[in-house]
Symmetry: C2
Subunit: 248 residues, 2 copies
């Protein structure tokens, strides 16, 4: 078996579509878009449809769908839900389809359009993402969303945790890029004070000031769910590593 | 005193000249260009003149100057020296002016043309770079050269060590960017096996295969010299943190 490569991209604007083509791409916007998608699907939402603009979201949503999203970290006027994982409770989202627009996470998912598979990764489902991605035996790209074309620490640390989980599941020969190794090292270094590091990252500070400190703590939790959102006909749907062969 | 910001750029092609304007920029090409400049000046070379092309190097060099440089990691035919720090001995370089062309390090130095000051950083002179940069009380940018527009682990770890030295010298309020913090974390994680990590990075593996394993070990040494190369009228000249006020 040839060696399987694990790359990591620091932020979306550095990602070239052709570098993602044919690979398994794990999009990471830990604060908060991908953590929300994971939480929504984990709590029983039927699907999450990521779209770029507010107008697209309104147009895409059927009468029974929930509209979710943020601009400048805040809930969009008229929407059912903002961008806080604490809003995506089982009571609110179970059985629902959610149309979601966020600033960076959605861009990341759309950038990966030529990928063989697109997963939503977060601290919450890091191990499940690793297990799922390894089953396909394709090269893996950890695509950190970042914020406004700048690297975000929480995304890098999440990529580092997923890389570590991949290494621990070691199946055959793995080749980690230099940047993947750097993120794995950074994760190891901060692993015992992750909530603190999340809350003092640029995004964490901004969210804390806006009153979303609870979101930051929530998103810093590790491996709390087996739910792996996978892009399926334009929508994110829930799979678990054990269901993965039912995917297309 | 306002807080002093410490940024880090993953690789040259991400650096925008305007983001470097007015700041203290520490260019890092740990394997091997900036390690060579540090070593040459530390061993008594009068100056190192970084130029972009082989033709420019030949044109710039006076009859008594030494020509140094590499292409695809190898010495350029007809040049006095290649790109190995082990060649830049006191016997060879003391009292000499060196015209140097390398692939990434030179580009990094030239990209920083609008900076207030440009330093050459490496593991060898990390603490001296930190001390020097802090004396100017300007924002600091750690500019990792990378290789072919991709992040190089050894540059990131060197940036992490310099960041750590800056933190330990703590003078007033420091604000580290998310990426600077990630690199500092990565450095901490690999600090006790640095030679091993250097030799297994993408650049380290390539250099080892070409027979330059000794260079890799040499460049992984920490804080062996107080020499800080600073760009002065287009040439790198040696300063120490204690001489810094003689630099205008």
């Amino acid at each position: 078996m040839r060696s399987l490569r694990v790359d990591c991209i620091p932020q979306i604007s550095e990602a070239l579509s052709q570098d993602l083509a044919g690979k398994t791409v794990i999009v990471i916007d830990a604060l908060r878009a991908t953590s929300n998608i994971v939480t929504a699907l984990s709590n029983g939402a039927v699907s999450v449809w990521p779209v770029e603009t507010v107008a697209q979201a309104k147009q895409a949503a059927g009468a029974n769908d929930l509209l979710a999203g943020e601009r400048q970290c805040k809930k969009i006027p008229g929407f059912d839900l903002g961008n806080s994982p604490l809003e995506f409770t089982e009571q609110t989202v179970s059985g629902q389809r959610i149309v979601m627009t966020t600033t960076n996470g959605t861009r990341g998912i759309q950038k990966a359009a030529k990928a063989a598979a697109v997963l939503a990764g977060s601290m919450l489902n890091a191990r499940a993402c690793a297990e799922t991605a390894l089953q396909w035996k394709r090269d893996i790209v950890l695509l950190c969303a970042g914020t406004k074309d700048v690297f975000a620490l929480e995304d890098g640390l999440c990529a580092g945790l997923i890389a570590k989980e991949i290494r621990e599941l070691r199946v055959g020969d793995l080749q980690f890029s230099d940047f993947t190794r750097a993120m794995e090292g950074a994760y190891d270094s901060f692993a015992d004070r992750l909530e603190d590091v999340f809350s003092t990252s640029d995004s964490g500070i901004r969210l804390g000031r806006l009153g979303y400190g609870g979101d930051v703590s929530f998103c810093a939790q590790r491996n709390t769910t087996d739910t792996v959102p996978i892009l399926t006909n334009g929508e994110m749907r829930a799979f678990s590593p054990r269901q993965i062969f039912s995917y297309k």
